[in-house]
């Protein structure tokens, strides 16, 4: 969402709580997952999934054509307690963008994928 402006320049009540800072380690893990997806490294990706998320992550990874995408972008993140949803897109010069959404949460000190969904050609994760 766009900023509503510099609060300190606005008369009236100021924020009473601090904003939650998105963990840099979570963003780094998300970036690594996207790189592995683009590279088609299914084995390394499997190592970044929890038991619950392994099948979904493998299914999304299988839909990515290896070697086609050369950059990625995190479009949005949203948190639910201590887990984070990441919506991201892979881009390549000769391919339609590939859009996916996954949930990252810490397990044994590592950020791992708990669920994943391929959003390519879909409006959002509401589409069943």
């Amino acid at each position: 969402m766009s900023s509503l402006g510099e609060r300190v320049n606005v008369l009236g009540p100021q924020p009473i709580f601090e904003r939650f800072a998105t963990p840099p380690a979570m963003l780094a893990a998300a970036g690594r997952i996207l790189s592995l997806m683009a590279a088609g490294d299914a084995e390394a990706l499997a190592g970044m999934a929890t038991a619950a998320g392994a099948a979904e992550l493998a299914a999304v990874a299988a839909a990515v054509r290896p070697g086609v995408y050369d950059r990625h972008e995190i479009i949005a993140t949203a948190r639910l307690n201590y887990h984070h949803y990441v919506k991201a897109r892979l881009y390549g010069p000769r391919a339609e963008p590939f859009t996916l959404q996954f949930r990252l949460g810490e397990e044994s000190g590592e950020w791992r994928v708990w669920e994943a969904i391929n959003l390519t050609g879909r409006r959002g994760a509401w589409t069943r």
């Binding site: 939650f20 479009i75 949460g105 669920e115």
Partner: protein, 266 residues
């Protein structure tokens, strides 16, 4: 423009994260939380709840607009009420987006679920107003009353007054829903029953497996809000007084409370 649009066709910006409700509940279970919305004793309650309301107000605005558009043959006064509700909900959405900023959050910090919008998936205006205006807006009365009490315990007049202002509108929306549910089904008891059943389904959807109780029955637990220790509800509460103001009968409120306690036994 398409009438009766499907639940997965609600427009949202690309940088907005949507997740089905059951997936969000699973995400909470994976972290050791209850399979419900954020509970009052949790650290994230105020931010998470205000965020849920902000997107809920957006969906309520879209639902009323959709009802206005989907039923062009409905009475003119019905259409006027729905148009008024769109205006009210849009104002509420703005209020809650500003409250989010006030508590150090922002629209998009949490994912948005489809659950409120999915309650509009019915092709009878009487069912729509029963489900949305009586079911969902009745739920809003409960939720707002609880936040007002939390703000009072915190000594925060900004949240208390802003939410009280919105609650006054929600009470009129419930009354509007009761009026139109009865008018649209006049002389057609079968249609009235269908509308009431639709509302019951929605009420049951939000029982949260016993996570809801009467306000006076909610065990008080110590919580910390903004570094301040207070005692507050451990459950989501049902606001009898606000519901009576909104025109719910004692029988309806009792039925809701009984359904909530039945859920707890499961």
């Amino acid at each position: 423009m398409e009438r009766m649009i499907a639940v997965d066709r609600l427009a949202r910006p690309d940088n907005h994260i949507l997740a089905p409700l059951e997936r969000m509940f699973q995400a909470r279970v994976d972290q050791g939380f209850s399979p419900t919305n954020v509970m009052p004793h949790e650290e994230d309650f105020l931010k998470g709840r205000l965020h849920g309301i902000a997107v809920g107000e957006m969906q309520a605005m879209e639902a009323a607009g959709r009802t206005l558009f989907d039923f062009p043959d409905a009475p003119w006064e019905f259409q006027l009420d729905m148009a008024r509700q769109v205006w009210d909900e849009s104002r509420h959405a703005e209020i809650f987006i500003k409250l989010l900023e006030y508590v150090g959050s922002y629209l998009g910090e949490f994912p948005e679920t489809e659950v409120l919008w999915s309650c509009t998936q019915i092709d009878d205006p009487a069912c729509r107003v029963a489900g949305i205006n009586r079911g969902l807006e009745g739920l809003a009365c409960d939720v707002f009353e609880q936040i007002i009490r939390l703000a009072q315990r915190m000594g925060d007049e900004v949240i208390e007054r802003a939410v009280d202002y919105v609650l006054a509108d929600e009470i009129t929306h419930v009354r509007m829903g009761s009026k139109w549910m009865r008018k649209l089904t006049e002389g057609d008891p079968e249609r009235l029953k269908k509308a009431q059943d639709f509302q019951d389904n929605i009420d049951n959807l939000f029982n949260f497996q016993g996570g809801r109780t009467a306000q006076e029955a909610s065990p008080q637990v110590p919580i910390e809000v903004g570094g301040r220790a207070i005692d507050f509800d451990s459950t989501l509460t049902i606001a009898r007084e606000a519901r009576i103001l909104a025109g719910f009968t004692d029988d309806e409120i009792e039925r809701l409370l009984k359904a909530a306690s039945r859920s707890a036994a499961y």
